[in-house]
């Protein structure tokens, strides 16, 4: 995959394209008797946006901190741009990081925060102010440089932290759940902002989050982690459509597990189930079951039903009805029919 600008030109790309920016090889991390990361291995191509997604305690933050160099892996090796980095202290790695609580220097102004990496990396002192201004402009904080950190709003502080992490043009950008503390609207705004900046600069990025929506929205690739182990690494649409196991299916999206006699686990997404008050409303479905509405939650653009299905061992199936106008909302207690096509059923080996 060659970038468009190089196609047909006389300039030949370097030996390999794309190159691998980060390579994690059989990394284990054990501390205080806890096996936080278990034989994790993955490669990340230069310029990609990777999200490590998992519940708290899944080892995702530990893995990020190992890459940042704040901890050394118990075993295994991490390569950044081809060089083994386990013995390299964090201040000698070219990694920009945005922390969960931002960790802006409270006694400095916004501009001083952004200038700090340049000073520490001995940039030409005369060039620093212009560079700081450029990066503050990039995060849309032009003119805010003289403000102290505590004089800025939550969203503005986020932007300062991003500018500080990027101003020295690091090889790698790490995001440690920096959006977790924001309210939903600001969080979604900042997700798009991260994506815009990352595309503009083309910096390889690893983002850690427990927010499945964020992972789907911002990433080129998603790694799902659980119990210290990588469960799946795939593009967002692939992760969603073909989850590699029951955990991934359950963690991303709303999934109903259907009891299967043959030992395999079968599941179906809530939005793949159709619901109708009569059998006639489900033309084309391969499987049709009867159920009783246990609960109906009106969410505006859709109605979420919980339907008790006796033929499936009395399980509650969650169903998204995205076209509530097709029939009037079904009340709890009413008998309904659920249907789906065989191709939408996910199957997992036990």
């Amino acid at each position: 995959m060659m970038p468009a600008a190089l196609k047909g030109s006389a300039i030949k790309p370097k030996l390999e394209w794309p190159t691998v920016a980060v390579s994690v090889k059989s990394v284990n991390m054990v501390y205080d008797g806890v096996h936080a990361v278990r034989s994790a291995s993955f490669d990340l191509e230069t310029g990609k946006f990777l999200t490590i997604l998992g519940p708290s305690g899944s080892g995702k933050t530990t893995l990020l901190r190992l890459i940042a160099g704040f901890q050394r892996p118990t075993s295994g090796e991490i390569f950044i741009n081809g060089a083994a980095v386990s013995a390299v202290p964090p201040h000698k790695r070219s990694i920009g990081m945005v922390f969960q609580k931002l960790a802006l220097f409270p006694h400095m102004t916004a501009a001083e925060n952004v200038a700090f990496p340049l000073k520490m990396r001995r940039s030409d002192a005369r060039a620093i102010p212009a560079r700081v201004e450029r990066y503050l402009d990039m995060v849309r904080l032009g003119g805010y440089g003289t403000r102290r950190v505590h004089e800025l709003s939550g969203g503005q502080q986020q932007r300062v932290a991003i500018a500080r992490a990027l101003v020295f043009e690091p090889d790698l950008l790490l995001l440690d759940e920096p959006l977790a503390a924001l309210d939903r609207k600001l969080r979604e705004e900042m997700q798009l902002e991260f994506r815009r900046i990352q595309r503009e600069l083309g910096v390889t990025t690893i983002n850690v989050t427990h927010d499945q929506r964020e992972a789907l929205v911002v990433s080129d690739e998603i790694i799902v982690m659980d119990g210290g182990q990588i469960q799946q690494k795939a593009r967002p649409s692939e992760t969603y459509r073909t989850p590699s196991n029951a955990f991934v299916a359950n963690f991303i999206g709303v999934t109903n597990f259907l009891d299967a006699p043959d030992g395999e686990r079968r599941a179906i997404r809530a939005e793949k189930i159709r619901i109708a008050p009569t059998r006639n409303g489900l033309v084309g479905a391969d499987t049709i079951v009867e159920g009783i509405v246990a609960d109906a939650i009106f969410e505006g653009e859709r109605v979420v039903y919980e339907v008790r299905v006796a033929s499936l061992g009395d399980t509650l199936l969650r169903v998204f009805d995205h076209d509530p106008s097709a029939h009037s909302q079904l009340e709890p207690g009413s008998a309904v029919y659920l249907g789906w096509t065989a191709g939408d059923v996910l199957e997992f080996k036990p």
């Binding site: 964090p90 201040h91 000698k92 220097f105 006694h107 520490m120 992490a165 020295f168």
Partner: protein, 266 residues
């Protein structure tokens, strides 16, 4: 806020009573220092500044005051690096014997000063340091150091541990991280601790009494010596000078750190 009237009245009576109790000695001494009479009385007879004039022109008092400033300066200069480092270490690292260290930090409240004073007198006597002024400053530092450590620890434990990691990811080696990030972040604690150390050393009486001789008395000892002969209003005037010094320290603290932060850190 619609507390019943009786409750409000009772509350206010308590508040006023506490304020009067706390400020009574200061008000009495302040009034007494302006008397125009020759004996210390409250309320004062008339108004004059003659006792201030007297202490301002007294050679002995000036010398004692300068010696006290010298002792306080020594105490503070030693306390700043030692207390700051100790405070940061205590707050940041899970050290062994942490419980024992915490108990040690309670010593100034539990061991009577006369005990530590005599101990220090023996040590300094053995080392042939008695009769000089700087050991007095050192002694004040040893005795009051826990206050300094507390002030710094309070600042350091509210520090986000990620700050130092952030500095590292910005490319700062450990020493730069300490100088540019850790130290400025605990500065409020260092400033309040230093002012506290300075004032405590300035007011220190018992230890000075044990460690000084007649040639090098500090101001509190000088005052004590005067009381033994005759109590005159110039002592009230000196006390007012002490109060003014403490007030100055509080103003400085407010300007440099903010009193709110100082009170919260306790």
């Amino acid at each position: 806020m619609t507390a019943p009237l009786s409750k409000t009245i009772v509350l206010w009576i308590f508040v006023v009573a506490v304020l009067v109790l706390l400020s009574a000695p200061t008000i009495v001494i302040l009034g007494a220092s302006f008397t125009s009479g020759n004996i210390i009385t409250f309320p004062p007879e008339g108004f004059s500044l003659k006792w201030y004039e007297k202490i301002a022109t007294s050679r002995d008092l000036w010398d004692a005051f300068l010696r006290s400033l010298y002792v306080s300066a020594i105490c503070t200069i030693v306390a700043i690096p030692v207390g700051t480092l100790a405070g940061i270490v205590l707050a940041k690292y899970a050290i062994r014997f942490e419980k024992s260290v915490q108990i040690y930090l309670l010593l100034p409240f539990t061991i009577p000063l006369i005990g530590s004073g005599i101990g220090l007198m023996l040590i300094f006597g053995e080392a042939r340091l008695l009769g000089q002024l700087w050991p007095v400053g050192l002694a004040c530092c040893v005795i009051n150091l826990p206050f300094m450590i507390w002030a710094v620890t309070a600042s350091a434990s509210s520090l986000d541990p990620d700050l130092e990691l952030a500095a590292a990811s910005c490319g700062a080696p450990p020493l730069s991280t300490f100088l540019h990030v850790t130290l400025p972040a605990v500065m409020p604690g260092v400033i309040s601790g230093s002012l506290l150390m300075f004032i405590l050393a300035l007011n220190e009486f018992l230890v000075s009494l044990l460690l000084t001789d007649a040639r090098i008395v500090t101001l509190p000892v000088q005052i004590y010596n005067s009381i033994r002969s005759i109590i005159t209003p110039d002592l009230a005037a000196i006390s007012v000078v002490f109060i003014a010094c403490a007030a100055l320290a509080i103003v400085l603290l407010d300007r440099l750190v903010g009193l709110e932060i100082f009170l919260k850190s306790k």
